[in-house]
Amino acid sequence: MSATSDHYYLPNPSPWPLIASSGLFTLALGTVLTINDLGAGPWVLLVGAVIVGYMMTRWFGQVIGESEGEVYNAQVDVSFRLGMAWFIFSEVMFFAAFFAALFFERHFSVPWIAADHILWPGFQAMWPTAGPKGAAFTPMTPWGIPAINTLILLTSGATVTWAHWGLLKNNRAQLIVGLILTILLGISFIAMQAHEYYMAYTHFGLTLKAGVYGATFFMLTGFHGLHVTIGTIMLIVMLIRSIKGHFRPDHHFAFEAVSWYWHFVDVVWLGLFIFVYWL
């Protein structure tokens, strides 16, 4: 803590922001090279991913150390909470862009294309569709894997809250068991989703290239699946920290941040289930 301030916390100079930026740059450059089939692309991408991974481990590690070292005061805790809440809001807006694409194409683009008898003769407006030039495919049905996945995620929302209650009551066993259950549910969700993707590509002809249905389906469920994966990794970190004895009933911002994130992922899924699979 700064010697001059008795009630403010100011962190010391840190190398991690610069390393993070250079890692992201390398990752971006590697991706550009890879998708344009240029020589060293995948290697540059890999180096970038390693830098970002290393940076995250060390930077988060430092923050965890500071948190457990009682460096932070109540004001820092509020700053972290507000920061996480606004970060989740930015994520909501990111998903909103893809939901907007889904609604626009389903309710405007496809009927407009069908109404044009000169450019696209014989194309009927319907949903799902791969568009006038798209190949045939079988769309996903809601009442198989998606419905089970909905139950899984809703249950995981309950188990993470149960774990939180355990933490608040200082019941370490309940905290750990709750986290393990949540992680297992998260992993089963990802496994089911992977199976669904496998079936879509091999049996249903449903791919990224299957017109607007395939594009919106895979981008929405894909980014959601990515977020579930990130959430699961964060939950695993919380589990390890819980086993190590971190967190107190009145001092556990990281746990709450992860559970907020998990509930956010849960809510996005409900939107997906209703608008992508069901209606």
């Binding site: 009630h7 610069l18 992201l24 550009v32 700053s79 294309i113 990224l208 594009a215």
Partner: protein, 521 residues
């Protein structure tokens, strides 16, 4: 932590101080210097554009390179010069104005900055890859952006990086304002600059992710076979425009609201009166931000929207004139019967008031659907948005620079040279952009390297104005350099009529602005 505490006050020196810093003033300085650098990079693109347009016919560049320059001029000015410039002001001023020692999340703050040089390295190096930089215009409309070369991919990923930077920076600003205010500094006592940045930061968090999602769809259409913007797969290029302008219109206010904030600090100081109608100013800013989310369609009146949508977007756009008018009249009322003096910051503020109003009124003309069918994609649009972005955003930053530079450096700037900078900028700016109104109304299209003979005279005037405008900015750099190096010592309260916490600190202020919170009555 004991050893860390000992070294903290001294802070590392040399390069390390800047690379690893967690200090809002160091980071603010880096933002401002970077923004100035990008201002000249993008400005030099504009010089080549104006040199090409000095005469009809093709003179010095190839048509495609001309398109690359217009694209990069827009992208670099918006994301490299104006947005980081205002974030630089926010970094320096917000903690001092709300009575805090620093930003709420200092390491995140440094990260927000350091992403920028990397992102612009990626974006600008697209000039040198096969196919060159995208020639799509800064709006990157599909399907043109789908068909562009790999330079487009570099721009897409640099936009992702810039989005991360902006969102993290905006979150930091919101958290700082909500959580770091000194005791007694209620929301309705905050200086207007703080209010405008709080609302700007909200806009950033809300719309930068939408742009990220949109360029991701472009990337998918380019490389992974999706059909978001391709009718053959059921998609629609118009969807791109809707998504882009849902980001793009709030983005316009992201670039002007902090300017409103700076002007709201300068005018009361040199009128020696408190800001007229403070509360209405706050509500007007919030109303502008709300309306910015429901007006995006006015950028695409000619694309073929249903008549009901055109009507909606026309009227909602016109509504913005109400809160903006409230602001203009409040600034004028602040000056009314004030004890006015005309130091350089005040000159820039008054220049802003007059010329931004011209830009606002030409914006109202563009909002009228039938009239817009005539103006769309002409030089009238170019004239309009340079009146709001140059004489609005950029000149507000110049005014803010002269206003706070003595506070930041501890030295007074050269008043004579500052005034020269103002008058040269104002005269050359109007010489450059006022003729473009007439060129546009006469039918000269934008983003084209050649034009019909009857447009020659006005284009010559605009080009001469542009070269003068560009050269005048070197004078600004000289004044800044001179002030940083030395000059008359500045008092704590630099300006006689200035109010606010930042003027209670020494000039230059201590490394950590308020080590103990002041109490605001």
């Amino acid at each position: 932590m004991a050893s860390a505490a000992a070294t903290h006050e001294e802070h590392p020196v040399g390069l390390k101080r800047w690379l690893f810093t967690t200090n809002h003033k160091d980071i603010g300085t880096m933002y401002l210097v970077f923004s100035l650098l990008m201002f000249f990079v993008a400005g030099s693109f504009a010089m080549v554009i104006r040199a090409e347009l000095f005469s009809p016919g093709m003179q010095i560049v190839q048509p495609y390179f001309f398109n690359e320059l217009t694209t990069m001029h827009g992208l670099v000015m918006i994301f490299g010069a104006i947005m980081p410039g205002f974030v630089g002001f926010a970094n320096w001023q917000l903690p001092m104005m709300i009575g805090a020692p620093d930003m709420a999340l200092p390491r995140l703050n440094n990260w927000s900055f350091w992403i920028l040089p990397f992102a612009f390295t990626l974006m600008l190096s697209s000039f040198f890859v096969p196919g060159g930089a995208p020639g799509t215009g800064w709006t990157m409309y599909a399907p043109l952006s789908i068909e562009a070369g790999m330079g487009m991919d570099m721009v897409i990923f640099s936009i992702h990086l810039l989005g991360i930077s902006s969102v993290l920076g905006a979150i930091n600003i919101i958290v700082t304002i909500l959580n770091m205010r000194a005791p007694g500094m209620t929301l309705m006592k905050m200086p207007m600059f703080v209010w405008t940045w709080l609302i700007t930061a909200f806009l950033l968090v809300a719309v930068m992710p939408v742009l990220a999602g949109t360029v991701t769809m472009v990337l998918m259409d380019r490389h992974f076979g999706t059909h978001f913007f391709d009718a053959a797969g059921g998609g629609d290029p118009v969807l791109y425009q809707h998504l882009f302008w849902f980001f793009g219109h709030p983005e316009v206010y992201i670039m002007i609201l902090p300017a409103f904030g700076i002007i709201s600090q300068i005018i009361p100081t040199f009128s020696r009166k408190p800001l007229f109608g403070y509360e209405s100013m706050v509500y007007a800013t919030a109303s502008i931000a709300f309306l910015s989310f429901i007006v995006w369609g006015h950028h695409m009146f000619t694309v073929g929207m249903p008549a009901a949508a055109e009507m909606f977007f026309m009227y909602s756009t016109m509504l913005i004139a109400v809160p903006t008018g409230v602001k203009i009249f409040n600034w004028v009322a602040t000056m009314w019967r004030g004890s006015l003096s005309f130091e350089t910051p005040m000159l820039f503020a008054i220049g802003f008031l007059v010329m931004f109003t011209i830009g606002g009124l030409s914006g109202l003309m563009l909002a009228v659907v039938p009239a817009d069918f005539q103006y769309h994609n002409t030089y009238f649009v170019v004239a309009h948005f340079h009146y709001v972005l140059f004489s609005g955003a950029a000149m507000a930053m110049m005014g803010g620079c002269y206003y706070w530079l003595p506070k930041w450096t501890g030295h007074m700037y050269n008043e004579t040279l500052g005034k020269w900078h103002f008058w040269l900028t104002t005269i050359f700016f109007n010489l450059t952009f006022f003729p473009m109104h007439f060129l546009g109304l006469a039918g000269m299209p934008r983003r084209v390297p050649d034009y019909a003979l009857q447009f020659t005279d006005l284009n010559r005037v605009a080009s001469i104005g542009a070269f003068g405008l560009g050269l005048s900015q070197l004078l600004w750099v000289y004044v800044i350099y001179q002030t940083v190096k030395g000059g008359k010592k500045a008092a704590s309260k630099v300006w006689e009529g200035a109010e606010g916490l930042e003027w209670t600190l020494t000039s230059p202020p201590p490394y950590h602005s308020f080590a103990t919170a002041p109490t605001v009555k």
